[in-house]
Symmetry: C2
Subunit: 221 residues, 2 copies
DNA sequence: TTGACATAGTGTATTTTCAACACTAACGTT
DNA sequence: AACGTTAGTGTTGAAAATACACTATGTCAA
């Protein structure tokens, strides 16, 4: 392989992260407003180039930490996007990730006008192929709800079963039967009651639960 | 970003393809013997660098075509491997794919001593992180058997239900009940009897089936 | 204090799906 | 014609998923 050929095939490798959280029972995605061209002014996913001495996972975590300061969240490789013209500046292959953060660990993005949580159902026009990435991440998330405990990564430390059900319903886009839902989730054996109660209005307080092994995602069935 | 920083983050992007077929009821993987260092003499997956003006999928298909001549096979992105030291020559990020080819379209690799099909159960020591790629591809293939018709991509144009069952059993590593298997597969509605029969020994001939939509992989249930 | 309201919490009956299981059919061979 | 070998076929019981409605416990206001 000549040096010239070698130049030919070098590319930039980036990562973009679809960062989900729940806010007011809505699934939200963290977006960053681009300052420069291309797509100046448009919203985009947090992302950037992978360092020469950095793994892909580490790069994705760095993207999150640099924009939000959060660490230790659930992160999973999603898909690698390699369209030839996906970045008008040149060939950039992007390894997309998705991440989940519990709503109580969700970083504040106030005072940062160029970083904001957007409802996943009503996204603005996005830069690059980021809309495709988000769509794929949503599909992956929804399908993982069916066979893993991944939804718990979106919950705060303590939560009620009704809140958990609302998360499932919102992501799946369908309503679930309350009794069947509770039977199934409690049957998994990865939740425990805290003994505390959550008072939220003029009605019966709800029991608070927590994960037995926070951070652990289990496959079920 | 300075030019120097830009150099820092350029990487080579390659693809490696885990190419499966069935031979004598065994799952096999196409391997290529490396001629040069590193890992000179070891077996490796067919792979190479992604061209500057080539999508990732196209690159993966090119790897297959250049080694085997086959085209139009089932191909799916598997995972992107980005370990820092996975290639001792320098930073190479590899987008791994896996591919399936029907046994009757399986290319001949005779007269090519450096290309060979190896049984997936008894692989030699492999170059780079290719053993990880194959292991992941096998897991993915096995799990897709459960919820898609992907196994049909490994079958020749016409096949018997017993042959199909043998493929399932081999990949899943467990025996299946004949009646339940036939009930399920025939119930999918993607097979049709050809009317022909397959004579193979001193016993009752088996009906031959074909896919209604060859090449199409459907999700089930 | 009591009645209205709102959400939490609970069990059973039915349907559907999955799993286990054994014999007859058709061909070749001796 | 009897034997060996694989093809082909239904039923039954168990388990899992689904559908479904009422009581419990708090707040608030009259």
């Amino acid at each position: 392989m000549t040096q010239q050929e070698r130049e030919q095939i070098l590319a930039e490798v980036g990562t973009d992260v679809v960062f989900f959280t729940m806010r007011q029972e809505r699934l939200c995605v963290l977006l960053v407003r681009r300052e420069r061209e291309p797509y100046g002014g448009r919203w985009s996913l947090p992302g950037g180039m992978v360092g020469r001495h950095e793994t892909l996972d580490a790069a994705a975590r760095r993207m999150l930490a640099s924009k939000t300061g959060v660490e230790g969240v659930y992160l999973e490789q999603l898909f690698t996007f390699g369209g030839i013209s996906r970045d008008p500046r040149g060939r950039v292959v992007s390894v997309a990730y998705y991440a989940l953060v519990a709503s109580d660990r969700m970083p504040s993005v106030r005072n940062m006008p160029n970083i904001a949580w957007h409802e996943a159902d009503t996204l603005p026009e996005l830069a690059f192929d980021h809309a495709d990435m988000i769509a794929m991440a949503r599909r992956r998330l929804a399908s993982k709800l069916e066979y893993s405990t991944i939804a718990l990564q979106l919950m705060p430390e303590k939560f009620t079963l009704s809140e958990l059900q609302a998360v499932y319903e919102h992501i799946l886009g369908e309503t679930l039967d309350k009794r069947n839902f509770r039977k199934r989730l409690q049957g998994l054996g990865c939740l425990e009651a805290t003994g505390e109660h959550h008072r939220a209005g003029k009605h019966r307080p709800a029991k608070l639960y927590r994960m037995k092994s926070p951070g652990r995602v289990e496959f079920i069935k």
